[in-house]
Amino acid sequence: MIRIVIAAALVLTMSAPAWAHFQMIYTPEAAMTDGGEVDLKLVFTHPFEAGHTMDMAKPQQFFMVQKGKKTNLMDKLKEITWTSLTNSGAAYEAKVAVRKMGDYTFCLVPEPYLEKEENAYIQQITKVVLNNKGLPTGWDAPVGLPAEIVPLDKPYALWTGNVFRGVVLRDGKPVPNVEMEVEYINHPPIPGKNAFQKKALATAPQDAFVTMGIKADANGQFSFGIPKAGWWGFCALGAGAADKLNGKELSQDAVIWVQAKDMK
């Protein structure tokens, strides 16, 4: 009997989905042609499956950098409820007016999330670079976050099939051989709603395709060929130096989102 229980427990553990947590900063369009009000959704979820959405606490920092100037956006944050395909969770949104040409780097430092099942904290420091009217003004500049992915290719100007490259930094220095996860927003949010669409854009043949595993090289640099149009998230696990919080383990990750478009 004991043996059966152990075997059953093993099977359960092994079949537990390996889907990754991903802090999203989502907006429909990364490459704007005429500015306007940018609608940003901050959601801590499992993007490929549009699965379990975790409750976000009030972020520690949310700001944007444009032409080297940092603007605090904490007062723009509004709490929302995000609906995934399996539950709903506390998330945030912000509406930010964009008029000037150039790159807008949005940065989120969330409050660490206690993952009870693992008895450990996750803090995903997340970045997305948007552009207005094609003028490059600093998409490649490190912001100076404790854990950060700095793009080597314009993250808002990628065709489907392009290679996206980046460097993972810890306090400004490359992190060699860091383990990374890559995930696709397979159920894009429904415009005007705080929810994922039900229809999936792609079907993963196996779990390893849901959250893809890649590694940075000895110089902290990684590359990834983008197979499909849409938003792709890159997460460098434990990229930050902080690894303990309240006596528990902390994984301080660096996330960046990029958008690819089909040539047509």
């Binding site: 032409k67 040409m101 150039g102 094609g134 003028l135 490059p136 003004t137």
Partner: protein, 105 residues
Amino acid sequence: MRKLFVLASSVATTFLLANAAMAHTPLFSCYDSGGAIQCEGGFSDGSSAAGVVVHLLDGDGKTIKDLKLDENSEVTFEKPASKYSVQFDAGEGHRIDVAGEDIAE
């Protein structure tokens, strides 16, 4: 022979320079900030447009005023009462016209 070589290399240099200049696209954008018009310029390779001349033209295309982009590649001027357009003028092949009616708040 040597002269020919020098000539050839200077042609090549000219060609290279011309190519480099072609590789970037001028960018220019204006908006109405409640009566004052703000314009900013730049190039697709990220290079600055500081000092570039901007012509403020009337409805007939005649120059009302010549302006220059400041160190931030920006310029601000009062919105003309009648029909107007703005021209970013970074030389041949690098001019952009923006009609006044397309400049929104």
